[in-house]
């Protein structure tokens, strides 16, 4: 009997929530929390140390979003990728470089079908790059980044959406060195691919 009552209450709650969401979507601005977790792979390009003296590994990231305004969303997030140092003469005699980005993006959702949407986005971020080897710390570099890209959402059910994204990221990094090598260490360009799950 208890089980039946609980099930009934749950169904009522879900139904009420669904009706509330439908009602909210008729408003311009409404509370619609969601989170994205993703695996990311950066493809660095150009003449800079992350591109030419490192190999990227698969990294991870997440984004959160709470509000929807006319299909616009602001999403703070965090990306983390570890790079293996491949040219110790150009970077230093340590094994890894960790790239962390704390960023915020604004996206606009364009529904293509009931299950598929695309979301172009632009964003800014704070970058922290640290160098390590066997627990030793070899200093850190800070900077900022601008990012622009596109995400494709494939809704699988009410709760989960699979997404794929590709975005261009340009990083400006603090660096003092010989003028001849300044650009090699103070900027980076990458195309970042991501595959993940969005939890509605």
């Amino acid at each position: 009997m208890k089980k039946n009552i609980l099930t009934l209450l749950l169904l009522v709650a879900i139904s009420a929530l669904g009706q509330e969401k439908e009602a909210q979507k008729k408003k311009d601005f409404f509370f619609e929390p969601s989170g994205r977790i993703k695996l990311i792979y950066p493809m660095q390009f150009g003449e800079h140390s992350l591109s030419e003296a490192h190999n990227a590994n698969v990294g991870a990231g997440w984004n959160l979003s709470f509000f929807n305004y006319k299909n616009f969303r602001f999403s703070p997030g965090l990306d983390w990728v570890q790079y293996d140092v491949t040219d110790h003469a150009l970077v230093g005699n340590f094994s890894t470089t960790n790239y962390t980005s704390a960023n915020g993006t604004i996206s606009y959702e364009v529904p293509l079908t009931s299950k598929i949407s695309v979301l172009p986005d632009v964003g800014l971020g704070y970058v922290y790059i640290s160098q390590r080897s066997s627990g030793r710390y070899f200093g850190a570099q800070e900077g900022n980044e601008v990012r622009a890209g596109m995400t494709a959402d494939f809704k699988t059910n009410r709760l989960l959406t699979v997404f794929f994204s590709a975005r261009y990221i340009h990083s400006n990094l603090n660096m003092a060195t010989n003028e001849q090598f300044q650009n090699y260490y103070d900027s980076a360009d990458q195309i970042q691919l991501a595959l993940g799950l969005k939890i509605n």
Binding site: H88, A89, L90, V91, G92, N93, I129, S130, Q131, R136, Y137, F138, G139, A140, Q141, E142, L173, N174, M175, A176, T177, N178, E179, Q180, F181, Y185
Partner: protein
């Protein structure tokens, strides 16, 4: 108890071993090595060591390319850390070490080495022997002018420029097939007198030259 643990952790953090680096700064070392004829030497291992009170890191390493060039770029250590640049020798080539550099030696973050390395077969050990026949006379300030392989180059302090001790035999490494100038001073009751002689270096790996006084 918590206070004691905190104190221990703070002390451990403050005295943590290892060289510290500035991750937002890079020092550049550009090395070019050529032989006696000016031809580039490929395949010479080079590295950079940073030392700080007993701790040290080999912070960068490379090998000279076909043009004799090696480029090493590494995070900048603290101001008082000592930097050593090593160009390694083997059974054919001499070594060359640059000692006691600091980040202040890097002008505009760059330190350039253009140097000659010599084959060991091109080097003669010149032993200056002393034939002390007159006990009222002493010899000192023995030095030479000529082509010498540089093996240890010191910055900040230069311990190698001290005059030789009186009546002490000395040795020099010199390149073969050249004339070198030998300078020395004879000390006697009438006052010091400087002497200059020319010594012909052939192709022997050991050469003794005797000063009689």
């Amino acid at each position: 108890m918590i206070k004691q643990i905190s104190l221990i952790l703070i002390c451990a953090a403050l005295t943590s071993c290892g060289v510290n680096y500035d991750g937002e700064s890079r020092l550049v070392t550009q090395i070019t090595v050529v032989d006696r004829d000016g031809s580039p030497i490929a395949g010479r291992p080079v590295d950079i060591t940073v030392a700080d009170d007993g701790d040290y890191d080999v912070i960068s390493n490379s090998v000279t390319d076909s043009n004799g060039h090696a480029l090493l770029i590494f995070p900048t250590p603290d101001f008082d850390d000592k930097i050593q640049i090593s160009i390694y020798g083997d059974g054919i080539w001499q070594y060359q070490y640059y000692h006691n550099l600091t980040r202040l030696n890097f002008k505009d973050y760059k330190f350039v080495i253009n140097t000659n390395l010599y084959r060991l077969l091109e080097i003669t050990q010149l032993n200056i022997k002393l034939n002390h026949v007159n006990l009222d006379r002493h010899v000192g300030d023995i030095r030479i002018e000529g082509l010498q392989p540089r093996t240890n180059v010191y910055f900040q302090s230069q311990p190698s420029n001290l005059p030789s001790y009186p009546d002490e035999p000395v040795s020099f490494f010199v390149l073969q097939e050249q004339s070198i100038t030998l300078h020395y001073t004879i000390y006697q009751d009438s006052g010091p007198q400087e002497y200059t002689e020319t010594v012909q270096i052939g192709t022997d790996h050991l050469l003794d030259y005797t000063i009689t006084y």
